[in-house]
Symmetry: C2
Subunit: 333 residues, 2 copies
């Protein structure tokens, strides 16, 4: 019998979550049954989307339940196995974070081949944000030699991978982000031209200064004014990978679209929206390329680490202060 601790949702937050919305509880794990594995979690991720699941509202994922452990991405190590496919010491990935360990049917965990990358990278750079950048650039925007790439939200989890993957493939990259810390971070990871959009009156003019001959690819994380600037700066046959529109997330009513969308016709542009789950088939290629890029010093990332399951609520709440750079993680093992 092993005792593990987990974080449960005690009450539903109103607005920003407080410490009182969470509780720490202990659970006794018996030996795993037939077809089950017992996993000791090493790392877990906290992500903004989890806030939505704390409400009792219908969405594309069901709400968390009161009095039950929260869920989310985690990497861990098999410590005991009742399934022929797993043995103690195997590294696995699961959606059973927010707990120090668990018993679960073997189908609920995936073996992790780290290819020399640190295991927690698979919750960030080597996980969904990284694959989003990789698929958006290589498949959706169909990056080709000589393309000039523009990316908004460039200091974010996805954006910073877009910058580095495009640089690793030899492209000129223009990144946009808000504030001097993010600008410094982007320069440090090799972004050729950095636009501090908070310091610019005219984003289109700033983009045309950074890319006087125009852009071929736009990786859109924010929508709004950035999309207008990209349409104006686009070269003929430009491709836009439409990943998100942060500018709209908190809007109370839909803001108007770009006033220059008609440029799509004359310049023969392609705007394509995508969701990472459509491109899971690229994961093995991504991990192979990423491992090589990391080895070559071409791709790196930042982490903010909280230690101990009891710190997970603080880590989660810290996401909304917005000051952290890089992936927010909790180290459990």
């Amino acid at each position: 019998m092993t005792t593990v601790r987990e974080i449960r949702l005690k009450s539903r937050p109103s607005g920003l979550p407080t410490a009182e919305n969470f509780e720490l509880a202990s659970v006794d794990l018996p030996a795993p049954g037939e077809g089950e594995v017992q996993v000791k979690n090493l790392w877990m991720t906290v992500d903004p989307y989890m806030r939505g699941r704390m409400n009792d509202a219908k969405s594309y994922v069901p709400p968390f339940q009161l009095g039950k452990a929260l869920e989310g991405g985690a990497v861990g190590e098999v410590v005991a196995s009742g399934d022929a496919g797993f043995k103690p010491g195997d590294l696995v990935q699961s959606n059973l974070g927010w707990r120090e360990g668990f018993n679960a049917p073997a189908a609920q965990v995936q073996k992790l081949d780290t290819r020399g990358l640190p295991p927690q990278a698979f919750l960030g750079a080597a996980g969904m944000p990284g694959l989003t950048a990789y698929a958006g650039l290589l498949r959706v925007a169909a990056l080709k030699d000589g393309d000039v790439v523009f990316v908004s939200g460039a200091a974010g989890a996805v954006g910073s991978m877009v910058v580095q993957i495009a640089k690793a493939k030899g492209h000129t990259v223009v990144g946009s982000a808000g504030g001097p810390d993010k600008v410094a971070f982007l320069k440090a990871i090799g972004c050729d031209h950095v636009i501090d959009y908070k310091a610019e009156k005219d984003l289109t003019a700033a983009l045309l200064r950074a890319a006087p001959d125009g852009i071929d690819v736009y990786f859109d994380n924010v929508g709004g004014e950035h999309l207008e600037a990209a349409l104006t700066a686009a070269r003929p046959f430009g491709r836009f990978a439409m990943c998100g529109a942060i500018s709209m997330y908190n809007a109370t009513e839909p803001p108007p679209g770009p006033r220059n969308l008609f440029l799509v016709v004359g310049k023969q542009l392609k705007l394509e929206g995508f969701i990472v789950s459509t491109h899971w088939d690229m994961l093995a290629d991504f991990h192979r390329d990423l491992a090589q890029w990391v080895k070559d010093g071409k791709v790196t990332w930042k982490e903010t680490v909280f230690e101990g399951i009891e710190k997970a609520p603080d880590a989660f709440r810290g996401l909304f202060s917005g000051e952290n750079l890089g992936k927010m993680l909790v180290k459990l093992g």
Copy 2:
């Protein structure tokens, strides 16, 4: 020596052209020189874009010159040849319309293989408007079995070909146009659901009634409210062939884009602008398919015909009264 008549630009119109802006003149044609052909024009086209060339302003085509014959698409017959590649009786296509005949270097005319279609069709259904519809559906929108197709400006030269090509390929087609005459025309050419946008308060609601399960392909000739409706009605992975945006042509300042453009991400839509000249390589395939569809009674078109070169200015001015259905042509031969 042959005498032919031609229409020259006498003065630049201000607003709608008047009869006084044009003059009829006669020209004597000698026998064609070495490498030249002499062509008797049979048909010429009048098109709205010619109005722009009557201004003395820079554009993507140079302005017409005062005192010189106008230009535009024409089909004719070689009557004498100084070039080994052409012989009397050959049908040819040129940009030397607005005249009964001409001498020109052989390189300025293209031989026309009509495949049984009437020669004047190559100024309309078998020409640029038809190829625009064909390329937009088959290559840009990459039409595939079972797609539900929505087209705006459906009674126009391009739109009516979109409707018929999509029907010929077995698709369900929703067309939008303004007014009872256009609605009747669309029903006559087999459009499954016709929306009279002038009679609808809520275009999105009308589209969702016509296509309750949504649309897969949108062929956009107008932009604006139609594009918003199409974004709302689009199924996941919908493809939009962006051909034009009539709603913006006369706007004094750019109107806002669609308020629901963010749907591109969640539905993973692709919006692609295109210009017909990029797709000339499809012309032979288009003519082969079109000849078959016409033979099978699947594609037809309307023509409004003025007879005689002296009527060409009237035909041209008639374009702007907007009441004609189908291609406006002048019969010369």
